[in-house]
């Protein structure tokens, strides 16, 4: 189908607007859609936070996500705040601690609070929890895979023995 606006390019976006209570659907190509201020599929889906974060960067909330980043990178995954702003996704769980001041502000704006009050979780084997024997086994198997991948065969053999005992 050709674009309803330019009638030249292939329409790839259906823009549905409600005007005077009736639904009007326009079939638009990417360029015309952008002219009408519609973000095209990729950007919207990839980064629902993109706009929000971008706006914060430009507006008064600049301190929330520094435009150039203040040089901090997550020691675990190497992501910077700039990466987060571009992708709308954090790199790893450690990022929440690395950028905690910024994220606390952001979470408050998004959710009205940054304090989780729902279910408390304790990972298997954490202090105070009784380790589930099944989780011990799974953990050893994960270590074994890493050992084999890293060609650390001595460790792998030892792990294999321990797994055998548990099984």
């Amino acid at each position: 189908m050709l674009c309803d606006n330019c009638k030249e390019r292939e329409a790839i976006i259906n823009l549905t607007q409600v005007e005077h209570d009736s639904k009007v659907t326009l079939h638009l190509c990417e360029q015309c859609a952008q002219l009408k201020g519609v973000e095209t599929g990729g950007t919207v889906l990839k980064s629902p936070l993109g706009n929000f974060l971008g706006a914060l960067g430009k507006g008064g909330g600049g301190a929330l996500v520094p435009a150039a980043g203040d040089g901090i990178r997550c020691p675990e995954c190497g992501s910077s705040l700039r990466d987060f702003r571009d992708a709308g996704r954090l790199g790893c769980d450690r990022c929440y601690s690395t950028f905690d001041a910024h994220l606390r502000d952001l979470l408050r704006r998004l959710h009205g609070s940054s304090q989780h009050v729902g279910e408390r979780y304790e990972a298997p084997g954490e202090a105070g929890t009784k380790p589930d024997p099944r989780s011990r086994l799974l953990e050893l198997k994960a270590q074994l895979r890493r050992a084999v991948e890293g060609e650390n065969f001595e460790l792998a053999a030892e792990l294999r023995d321990r797994i055998r005992v548990l099984e």
Binding site: T16, R89, G91, A123, P124, R134
Partner: protein, 360 residues
């Protein structure tokens, strides 16, 4: 791929057995979880992703609720098969790799047992979800929660004392819970009250989407209502709040239908019978037209203006008239130009098979 491995095709919720199922098609719960110490999906290397899949596979095998789960490895599946799973609401468009021509990456998988599934290596490492017939937040949450508790004992999830469960996108952090209902609101659309209701939703912390969630269009007067925030409230509070609002929206819809019956009974009856007539006799149907006609018929059935078909049949038509389902049924490609003809023939067949239901 053999979808026959799934009892009910993974869609027991279609059977219209749940509360309020003429108005509320289904209730869905999902929980976002990540494995501690492994980069989130977007930044993960293929080896990280396969490590996540391995962990989930092993945990599922020794868990109480997923030990006989059927596994689908999306990176080994052809596009039409992946699209089938998406059309059944079992996987997101993203996990199915339908968004752009990028096939799923290594480790993208789905585990399904009964009415609960786990998407692996989606935006988060694990997306646990369950879909129930009608308006039934309690049962859906209880089932997904027990799978979560089970897996959480076997896989160390990323959790922070202040921020709760950590997710790739901060919009899901905290509980990681998204509760949603798929609701049919033709009365509010026809009485032009719908915009007021939808605007009201955002003021009470809820959001609405189309049939397939984020980024999908509203078709056939189906709206997906869900909680917008996931942090700062308990799981029960989030679910209770959504439940309260949905009950109110259902009430508004019932009132709107009463108004329609009082002020324009003949028009409504005519509209619904016309929709039924078209579905029963048309020779070519687009998906969008089918959805709109099904909406008219569903309204007529809900108002006892039409003696049939049953809601189960109407639900089946919503799923099986989609592109990948029709193509698979008829051995065609999803780009086949004859699909509208195949669709119309299928709709006629299903409606003819339907025993006439006496008016209640």
């Amino acid at each position: 791929m053999d979808l026959a491995l799934l009892p009910d095709g993974g869609m027991r919720w279609l059977d219209a057995s749940g509360p309020k199922s003429t108005i509320v098609l289904s209730t869905r719960i999902r929980l976002a979880r990540n494995v501690r110490g492994i980069p989130f999906s977007q930044r993960a290397k293929d080896s990280d992703r396969t490590a996540v899949l391995e962990r989930v596979r092993e945990a599922a095998a020794s868990s109480e609720h997923l030990s006989s789960a059927v596994a689908f490895h999306l990176d080994e599946m052809q596009r039409p098969d992946r699209q089938l799973l998406h059309e059944r609401h079992l996987i997101s468009k993203e996990l199915a790799g339908l968004e752009r021509e990028a096939p799923p990456r290594a480790g993208a998988a789905l585990f399904v047992q009964d009415q609960v599934g786990v998407m692996v290596n989606e935006e988060d490492h694990l997306r646990l979800h369950g879909m129930w017939s009608g308006f039934n937040l309690e049962d859906a949450y209880a089932a997904v929660e027990s799978v979560d508790a089970d897996l959480g004992k076997l896989i160390p999830f990323a959790f922070h004392p202040e921020f709760g469960y950590l997710t790739s996108c901060p919009t899901n952090a905290g509980t990681g819970l998204r509760a949603s209902v798929l609701i049919h609101l033709p009365g509010l659309v026809l009485t032009k009250e719908i915009n007021k209701v939808l605007q009201g939703l955002s003021q009470v912390g809820l959001t609405f989407r189309g049939l397939y969630g984020e980024g999908s269009e509203v078709v056939g007067n189906f709206f997906q209502l869900s909680n917008q925030t996931t942090l700062g409230k308990t799981e029960d509070e989030l679910i209770d709040h959504l439940g309260k609002i949905v009950r109110q929206v259902v009430e508004y819809e019932e009132q709107a239908r009463d108004v329609l019956l009082k002020t324009a009974p003949e028009e409504v009856e005519d509209k619904t019978w016309r929709a039924y007539g078209l579905l029963k006799h048309a020779r070519r149907l687009s998906f969008e037209e089918t959805m709109n006609l099904l909406s008219g018929v569903r309204l007529g059935v809900g108002l006892n203006l039409l003696p049939g078909p049953g809601v189960y049949t109407l639900n089946k038509l919503l799923i099986y008239t989609q592109l990948a389902h029709l193509a698979a049924m008829d051995g065609r490609s999803t780009g086949d130009r004859e699909l509208p003809t195949v669709r119309a023939a299928f709709v006629r067949r299903l409606l003819e098979d339907e025993p006439t239901v006496e008016p209640r």
